[in-house]
């Protein structure tokens, strides 16, 4: 098909920020049709895996969170859990519940940001971006009350968390959540069921169940194509095994389905936070961990807002990791995006919506 047409035009989309992020896609187009989406990795490569080899375990948490600042809690948890797995460190029950709460706050933050960006990409929706930014503020405040930081928490350490739940946190959190539940209905009515959004997203960028598995999609992109895989259910880490929540799965596999998954996950996140606050066990919130850990190998899979992040650490008996390998969800999702034009028809105007429906975070893809 391509050889017959003469007028293949290459468009650089990015790396300045025309709705692309700090990333460049090379689009091969003929008129309105996109034949190739070639991702150009590396604009935000900082060598985090090497940097970690120079940092002690606790110091390393700070650069590690820079993989995806918008979802700092979940990403940081992946590193901390890998270290704990290597050294067989059990975490106190109370710390597990506090971790669960912060992880879900972080997930809501991230999903709200994704929804706001996609609404902008779909055109004519700056209002939704302003809404999500305003609502995100409440959760940033909650995180600040708990950890002292609004973005990069560095709150999880091997053996527990840095601080206990502060006084008045539960009341404030419940107030925010009951407000947010009303807002979710507003999002559904004015955005998810809005005709403009549906025209731009329904049936666009379809990814079948088999392709999602075979290509290795992660997170909402995988569940949006009907695959039941959520690390919170699969590994039941932290307090997720004791909390009642549903896995959000959609069958359609289009842009709308991927956002429906994020929307349903935000509903579940509010339920998880409420239950964790209600059933919070008493006891210590951390336990001492020696600075030097024994030789070993650890692996952790954590469901971040963008999907499963796998961290493989090798310890050599010193106070620093020997090697850290991160299998980042955005790296895999960007690869899936590059294969999409072969599987479904994509127009130039669809590209921003399709890309943001995968919610790639280029910093964790480039590491």
């Amino acid at each position: 098909m391509m050889s017959e047409t003469k007028g293949i035009m290459r468009i650089s989309w990015g790396p300045q920020h025309p709705m692309s992020g700090q990333f460049r896609f090379i689009l091969e187009t003929d008129g309105e049709n996109v034949y190739e989406i070639i991702p150009d990795f590396g604009f935000t490569h900082r060598g985090i895996e090497k940097i970690l080899e120079y940092r002690t375990f606790v110091q390393g948490i700070v650069p590690f969170e820079r993989l995806a600042m918008v979802d700092a809690a979940n990403v940081g948890l992946a590193y901390v859990r890998a270290i704990e797995d290597a050294a067989n460190i059990e975490v106190p029950k109370r710390a597990q519940y506090i971790r669960t709460i912060l992880c879900e706050i972080s997930r809501i933050n991230s999903h709200l940001y994704a929804i706001g960006l996609a609404a902008e990409a779909a055109g004519g929706y700056p209002a939704i971006f302003l809404w999500t930014t305003a609502d995100r503020e409440l959760f940033l405040d909650l995180a600040e009350m708990l950890t002292g930081a609004r973005w990069s928490y560095s709150f999880f350490i091997p053996g527990g968390v840095r601080a206990d739940i502060p006084e008045g946190f539960k009341e404030k959190a419940l107030k925010v959540l009951s407000y947010f539940e009303k807002r979710l209905i507003a999002y559904r009515d004015s955005w998810l069921e809005n005709e403009i959004w549906l025209t731009r997203s329904k049936g666009i960028g379809k990814l079948s169940t088999e392709d999602a598995i075979k290509l290795g999609a992660a997170g909402p992109s995988l569940r949006g194509s009907g695959v039941e895989l959520d690390m919170r259910k699969e590994d039941k880490y932290e307090a997720y095994g004791e909390i009642d929540f549903r896995m959000a799965v959609q069958k359609e596999g289009d842009c709308q389905a991927r956002f429906m998954v994020r929307f349903l996950e935000m509903i579940e996140s509010t339920r998880i936070i409420k239950q964790a606050l209600e059933n919070m066990p008493p006891g210590p919130f951390k336990k001492p961990v020696p600075p030097k850990l024994p030789k070993g190998e650890g692996f952790a899979r954590v469901e971040t807002a963008r999907g499963e992040m796998d961290v493989h650490v090798i310890l050599d008996g010193s106070d620093k990791p020997y090697r850290v390998k991160v299998c980042a969800p955005s790296f895999r999702n960007l690869y899936v995006i590059s294969k999409l034009p072969k599987l479904t028809k994509i127009l130039v105007a669809d590209v921003p919506v399709v890309v943001w429906s995968f919610d790639p975070w280029y910093l964790d893809a480039d590491r």
Binding site: G42, I51, I213, K214, A328, Y335
Partner: protein
């Protein structure tokens, strides 16, 4: 039939007796299988087609200068077995060379490009062994994730 970790290891070792050098259950739902470089493609194809490990998670290398080897690790998952397999292969450090698995799981294409530029492992038969993350003006033959590469400011 539900497959336990031992069943998967047994299926692989029975079919590839000479090629598997080490196999063990690391934790529940987590297996490590080390194969000889010659057996990498055939074991990988067996894992994908006969055991259903169709969901690639990633791949990366580890440098062991003391033992004069580099290890490539492929992380795989299966929808039906719900188990992680770390497929490992060692290669000598002075001439690191492995067959490519990009023909088995297409996604490994990118991961192998990364391992090539970061560690210098050459993947034979790789369709496009080019720089992925490093800048274009990065010095040839300098592999930043190797253990003997020191960050300039340290």
């Amino acid at each position: 039939m539900t497959w336990s970790e031992e069943d998967i290891i047994k299926a692989v070792t029975e079919n590839f007796k000479e090629l598997v050098t080490e196999s063990k259950v690391l934790k529940p739902k987590r297996i490590s299988i080390t194969v000889k470089p010659d057996g990498l493609v055939s074991v990988a194809t067996f894992l994908r087609d006969s055991l259903g490990f169709d969901h690639p998670l990633g791949a990366g290398a580890i440098d062991y200068p003391a033992e004069n080897k580099m290890q490539m690790v492929y992380y795989l998952w299966s929808v039906s077995k719900r188990t992680i397999v770390m497929l490992k292969a060692d290669t000598p450090r002075d001439n690191p060379k492995l067959p490519t698995l990009s023909g088995v799981w297409d996604q490994m294409n990118l991961h192998e490009r990364e391992a090539w530029e970061m560690f210098g492992i050459v993947f034979e038969g790789h369709p496009k062994l080019e720089r992925l993350l490093l800048p274009e003006d990065w010095e040839e033959g300098v592999y930043p994730l190797r253990k003997d590469y020191k960050l300039p400011e340290r």
